[in-house]
Symmetry: C2
Amino acid sequence: MISELDILNSFQHLVEKNDDNLVVVGSGDDAAVIKSQKKDLVHSMDISKEGTHFPENSNANDIAYRSIATALSDLAAMGAYPSFITVGLTSNKTNIKWYEDFTNGLEAIINEYDIKLVGGDITFGDLNICINVFGYPFMKPLLRSNAKPDDLIYITGALGKGRKGLIDWKNNKKSKYIEEFFRPKVRFGLSKYIASFASSCIDISDGLFKDLGAICKLSQVGAILRYEDIPITNDINDLAYGDDYELCFTCGIECEEMLRNKGLKSIGKITEGSNIKLTKNNKDINFKKTGWDSFY
Amino acid sequence: MISELDILNSFQHLVEKNDDNLVVVGSGDDAAVIKSQKKDLVHSMDISKEGTHFPENSNANDIAYRSIATALSDLAAMGAYPSFITVGLTSNKTNIKWYEDFTNGLEAIINEYDIKLVGGDITFGDLNICINVFGYPFMKPLLRSNAKPDDLIYITGALGKGRKGLIDWKNNKKSKYIEEFFRPKVRFGLSKYIASFASSCIDISDGLFKDLGAICKLSQVGAILRYEDIPITNDINDLAYGDDYELCFTCGIECEEMLRNKGLKSIGKITEGSNIKLTKNNKDINFKKTGWDSFY
């Protein structure tokens, strides 16, 4: 039987790497002390559970990477860059190799985004990963509540990649999309780019319709989407599936040319009212028939 | 079947109470934004699991209160006052009353210590509460690593109260100690008092011997404890049991009179070397016979 100490030892070198000026007191004391950055702190928490957020028998390296990436995506959606994270790991795995793999995934993502692991906790039980992510705004925070009628709607990449990746993984099929599901890229680059002009932003974790719906609800507006302009991977259900971690953002029409030069084309626009309409070549598509009204 | 929305609705009023200047962006967006206090941030995370950290069939109100109190205790041990928390709740309860009770416990403790709930996450699964607590130092952080030979050792209250409370609860016995187990008081008052002069501090969550052992290990010192001066509730095993959430701290001999006037009497002193010795009326007690060497 492995002990908590064995597990902690496999993580220790990650916490000890905090030899810069961010972490004043690190591992080994009652609490971590993080140097004030004199900026507002942006925080989000995400719990990832085996069987709910990732399939059973997922690779531990991927579990760590994905759990953190999906949490970091909330910072990108807020127009914030990441600084440090904490990891609360509940696990029933009894093989030290599993913890070493988990640590490798953790190390890969904190190195990729240059963030620090400042603390955490480990306990025994059904696999459950509670990630807290912390960062600071690139400019001002990008809210969900500030979209205005006639603003254009954008997404930062194709929908349905994660969905296809999960299906391919379940079918034991070799596919580039598997990485899209287990190791999604967090859109910090585009978040920084749009931070000065976007009127609202959200990440597409629950599906475009539900997430754009959250922007509409909080901004008290409606929206019209052009199906033919939405990049998808599989079929129309990609618009409702989620697990994409692309950003959906809105901005005034004056940004259209600049964004086109960046390779981004709007997928619709914000309207008065509270409805979200989907059109295909200027004809309404009935949501009921597509099956994704249930998400709204 | 209750929905996630039903559960969130039972918490919502707590997050919406953040109408002061601390929380710039609260519930409903991708992340919370917390106003910079221009002070170093002190952070700790604690996972509490049913069957491990509290018994099955515990009252949901107590579960919430205790999970947060035990996490806050790490801030007190660090010489820090609390400011805000996040709650990651994994629960398999299907009765909305359970969530209302949980919320009441949460509300009681955040009101008691004047702290804000800034965010969290909820998912379905075996009961597991992941609490993140955040605060700021009263003065400088109180570390575990700064005890010096000849420093005196203090604890802020009797040991074994939580232990007795849990036994009494299991035996359905009416007892004032049950509250000590389920709703421990966090020693912020004494933490503030000692912040300017204590050389080291830890909270007694794992038992005096193990926790004082952590101070000794990190300070590279030993200790000698006088059993007759240690306030206990049950028997000698109180020294190793944990669940007390009193503080154990050290300070120079020049503080002795001041602390005596405050009602605090030292229980031993720091020594050179690396051993922890227990004496009773100047005679050594053999740890092996007491059964608590296994904790060290």
